[in-house]
């Protein structure tokens, strides 16, 4: 009997011993500020990241030339303390501050110079970086050509060497075969030399000296300073990257220049940031330590907030929004964001093809009661969308409230349009399948839309879902009738929602094409260029005769500042016309604009609702804490 019992107890003891051996109690001091960062960051390399969770960390660890104002999103001085713009709006000269430093933890390394920006921006374009955001630099003169040519050259170089030695997968790798190392290195040096020459010849980017960075743009881009706030354009430290290669972002290796440094990175658990003692504006950094939790489960995030273990939750379980709002009234924030939710129509297929297809698309759009959808299905106070550009972009009024009659009117009109298209009362309407990526929310929305069309138009569409990877492939291959999609604005300007619909645009994916639309986008891309060339100006006026008074005022204006202002105004007018075309032709059926739903402590300062839902941890501080003396610059 004893033997049996002790065997049982021994088994338990072994289990407990295993537990003791593997369990590492890690009870750090709680951070001053803890937020839910929604997921484990895919990378901490600003050139390679794409998501919002990564962006929040990038803004803490690095700093670009400019920084978003936490509330208005206006560009504030960052590493650049001031800048000048040439009269034609194409040349920017940034003056860098002399007290911006590279740091590794608490150790101060060297100054951040204009050369660091040239290196980092070129790196963003270089094919071996494989950055998804290379195109964000295409506003700079010559970058697109450089990237294209360089990709080709690079492709040829690596292919040639891969044939000689299979372990060569990138310009940074070395051949396994020791005898080939020297010749590879030599060829690589030659290749890089040529690259440098090409870069200097084609790209409008120069470090005039350590303190001055000159950027020449392809066309005057009024939102360029907005783009320099964006994390892909943050500088990285060349020495650190060259020394440590792919894995340079480890906590003991990473070199940063932002308001915080990386103190600890526990995979899939948390990232601990600590205020950088060498940061130029350290006195205005409000938090000593910040924890970013990789919590994915929305209800868990909410639990942590309720239990006071997190101070900011940027994403909430949508099914609980109403309850959260009533119980945590002071903490709850709802705000419009630059994200649109829509359904793509494949205009290369029936019934969306041609003129008839346009009528079908219009009918489908009119038959959706968006208010009903938002009140009863999505329930997070989204805003109804009739065009693809979200409201709230400064200076842009959007598509006027045209053609959105009352619900019953809309349905009547929709039926008439459908009949005109040849499907009276839905008769003869072909089989149409709506594709969405697998998710309960998309499913509920699709079911509601399916029902609107059934009830209002007497047509039945099939629903089908594919899991994300497959769905992406189907959409890229245009293998769908209708497909759900969303689009997040890259910068606060209508252009980011409009230039994608040009003929054969990479993200168009509807097959839709309109020459006049393409021209509008082209005009808006370069108002001064278009209007200074007599031929293009005539074309412009032919396309947009009612803008003539503005054009005349613009051309007659002699003062550069006023002229630039008029140009910017004109540009938005043209974009609005493009917006109207999309809203009328409906290659996509816009449904709603997302809102952000967040919780943060009422006594937190420096965190504001804003259109881009971008929040730099630099500005966070507790209300009770006394402010440090402003260190100048961040006006």
């Amino acid at each position: 009997m004893k033997q049996n019992l002790s065997a049982l107890l021994l088994f338990g003891a072994i289990l407990l011993a295993i537990f003791a051996a593997f369990f590492r109690s890690s009870q750090d001091e709680p951070a001053e500020f803890v937020f839910v960062n929604s997921t484990e960051p895919q990378t901490l390399d600003p050139a390679k990241m794409t998501g919002q969770p990564e962006g929040r960390l990038a803004q803490a660890l690095f700093e670009g030339l400019t920084t978003y104002h936490p509330k208005t999103l206006e560009p504030l001085p960052g590493v650049a303390k001031r800048w000048e713009v040439s009269p034609d709006g194409r040349t920017y000269t940034f003056h860098l501050r002399q007290d911006a430093y590279w740091v590794r933890g608490t150790e101060r390394l060297s100054r951040v110079t204009a050369h660091d920006f040239v290196y980092s921006w070129q790196r963003l374009l270089n094919p071996e970086t494989a950055s998804n955001y290379g195109y964000i630099l295409f506003y700079v003169k010559g970058t697109e050509d450089y990237k294209k040519a360089e990709s080709k050259r690079y492709e040829a170089f690596v292919k040639k060497w891969a044939e000689e030695d299979s372990s060569i997968t990138s310009i940074d790798s070395l051949p396994k075969d020791a005898s080939k190392v020297d010749s590879f290195k030599q060829a690589r040096a030659q290749f890089l030399e040529q690259r440098q020459r090409d870069f200097q010849k084609t790209v409008g980017l120069r470090a005039l000296d350590d303190d001055r960075l000159q950027v020449v743009l392809r066309s005057p881009t009024p939102y360029f300073l907005d783009i320099t706030c964006f994390y892909p354009l943050f500088p990285v430290n060349r020495k650190c990257l060259e020394e440590h290669g792919l894995f340079w972002t480890r906590e003991d290796k990473i070199v940063t220049n932002g308001p915080f440094y990386l103190e600890k990175w526990i995979f899939n658990d948390r990232i601990r940031l600590r205020r950088s003692p060498n940061y130029w504006d350290r006195d205005n950094v409000g938090m000593e330590t910040i924890d970013a939790l990789a919590v994915e489960e929305l209800t868990t995030a909410l639990t942590l907030y309720v239990k006071k273990q997190a101070d900011w939750v940027p994403q909430l379980p949508l099914s609980l929004i109403r309850g959260i709002q009533s119980q945590l009234e002071d903490d709850y924030h709802n705000h419009a964001s630059l994200i649109v939710y829509f359904y793509r129509c494949n205009t290369t297929r029936e019934p969306f093809k041609g003129e008839r297809g346009k009528k079908v698309r219009q009918a489908l759009s009119l038959a959706v009661n968006r208010k009903d959808l938002i009140d009863n299905v999505t329930k997070a106070y989204e805003q109804a969308a009739f065009s693809v550009v979200p409201p709230g972009i400064p200076g842009y009024s959007g598509v006027p409230a045209m053609a959105h009659p009352e619900a019953s009117e809309a349905v009547k009109k929709a039926r008439a349009l459908l009949a005109e298209a040849g499907y009276p009362d839905g008769k003869g309407f072909p089989k149409v399948t709506l594709l969405y990526n697998t998710s309960d929310r998309h499913k509920q929305i699709a079911a509601a839309i399916q029902n609107f069309w059934k009830v209002n138009l007497n047509i039945h569409i099939e629903l089908t879902n594919q899991e994300w990877g497959t769905y992406i492939d189907s959409v890229h291959a245009m293998n769908f009738d209708m497909a759900r999609a969303g689009w997040i604005g890259d910068y606060t300007d209508p252009n980011t929602f409009l230039d994608m619909w040009i003929t054969d645009g990479d993200q168009n994916e509807t097959g839709w094409s309109s020459p006049i639309y393409d021209r509008f986008i082209e005009y808006a891309g370069d108002i001064p260029g278009t209007l200074s060339d007599p031929g293009r100006r005539a074309e412009f006026l032919k396309d947009l005769p009612d803008l003539k008074p503005f054009v005349v005022r613009y051309t007659d204006e002699r003062k550069a500042d006023e002229r630039r202002r008029l140009g910017a105004h004109l540009r938005l007018k043209v974009l609005q016309r493009a917006d109207e075309i999309v809203a009328d032709e409906l290659p996509v059926i816009p449904l709603f604009f997302y809102t952000t739903n967040q919780l943060w402590r009422p006594k937190l300062e420096g965190l504001y609702d804003n259109l881009r839902d971008t929040h730099s941890p630099k500005f966070f501080r507790w209300k009770s804490k006394a402010k440090g003396s402003p260190a100048g610059g961040s006006k």
């Binding site: 998804n132 195109y135 919590v295 992406i472």
Partner: protein, 309 residues
């Protein structure tokens, strides 16, 4: 015995090889692209470079050979395609110990809760004790773990306010998730023990023991236990493996940075190398625990020996 183990190990290597080869080609055959981005299409040049970096440009058989070579020669499981700053070795190295810690405690709870309730239910067949214990067992088996986890959080964290609802680091934080993870297994073990005990108790040698006038607890522990837990032992192999590599649901709800969630996430992300890493870890554990169970079986059951395969 040595020969037995040797033979089994050889089989294990072969099994692992087949599992790896199967998963390697299956995961690559699934539609979708590991570099597909949220809302934007990927530039072809970027895609080409990424594919080269991860050797996706090579024929699949070559990819497999290279992958196998890297593991066998360099112990290198490759780089994660989603977490671009991390190697698979690092991810497993950081996550697996947490899953093992959580799993060992969960297994501890599962075994003891299951054995005790099962023995009570079996010894008091068809009484209120039996029905009570078995109702719990049925609940434990049929309630999905996310419901269990939420119930536990609601009771211990919100109503009683004694344990934290989520996180990893302190002993207090380990209790709820290991309990949530253990309950379904405990329920299963409980039922196995009960059935095993009832069967053993109907044997002649038990009647003899009773006739000798031995006390009930002596009969159960000394004479019946061994036989009663044999089915439990064979269940423990696979149970230990799946409990030790963690659980997607429990890890997500309790915000535990373990390996379990990557079984699903890595596959959904088409993170080929991470998928393969988790497959290897899981199948090795499964095979290993099964071997341990077989050895234990021989030691426990006098009717089985190492040659009777």
């Amino acid at each position: 015995m040595i020969e037995f183990i040797g033979r089994r190990l050889a089989w294990m290597v072969l099994t692992l090889f087949i599992i790896c080869a199967g998963s390697f080609f299956l995961v690559r055959a699934a539609p979708g692209d590991p570099f597909g981005q949220e809302m934007k299409a990927l530039n072809p040049a970027v895609k080409a470079q990424l594919e080269r970096e991860y050797r996706l440009d090579k024929p699949k058989v070559t990819q497999f050979a290279l992958w196998l070579r890297d593991i066998v020669i360099y112990g290198d499981f490759g780089r994660s395609m989603k977490y671009r700053d991390k190697s698979v070795n690092e991810i497993i190295g950081q996550s697996l110990p947490r899953s093992i810690a959580l799993g060992s405690l969960a297994l501890f709870f599962a075994v003891y809760l299951g054995l005790i309730t099962g023995l009570i239910a079996g010894a008091r067949q068809n009484t209120a004790w039996d029905y009570g214990a078995m109702s719990f067992a049925v609940l434990g088996i049929s309630l999905p773990s996310f419901v269990l986890a939420v119930l536990l959080i609601w009771v211990f964290s919100f109503t009683l306010n004694v344990l934290p609802p989520a996180g990893w680091g302190s002993l207090k934080q380990v209790l709820l998730p290991s309990l949530a993870l253990s309950l379904p297994y405990a329920a299963y073990i409980s039922r196995l023990t009960r059935v095993g005990l009832i069967e053993v108790l109907s044997n002649d040698f038990i009647r003899t023991a009773e006739a000798k006038g031995l006390a009930e607890h002596v009969i159960i522990i000394k004479h019946a236990l061994r036989g009663a837990i044999l089915p439990v032992v064979s269940f423990l192999g696979p149970a230990a493996a799946s409990i030790a590599v963690g659980s997607l649901v429990v890890e997500k709800i309790f915000f535990i940075p373990g390996l379990g969630q990557f079984f699903v996430k890595a596959a959904l992300n088409r993170d080929y190398y991470l998928v393969m890493g988790t497959v290897i870890v899981y199948s090795t554990m499964l095979c290993g625990f099964n071997l341990v169970v077989d050895i234990a079986y021989v030691l426990l059951d006098p009717r089985v020996n190492f040659d009777s395969e």
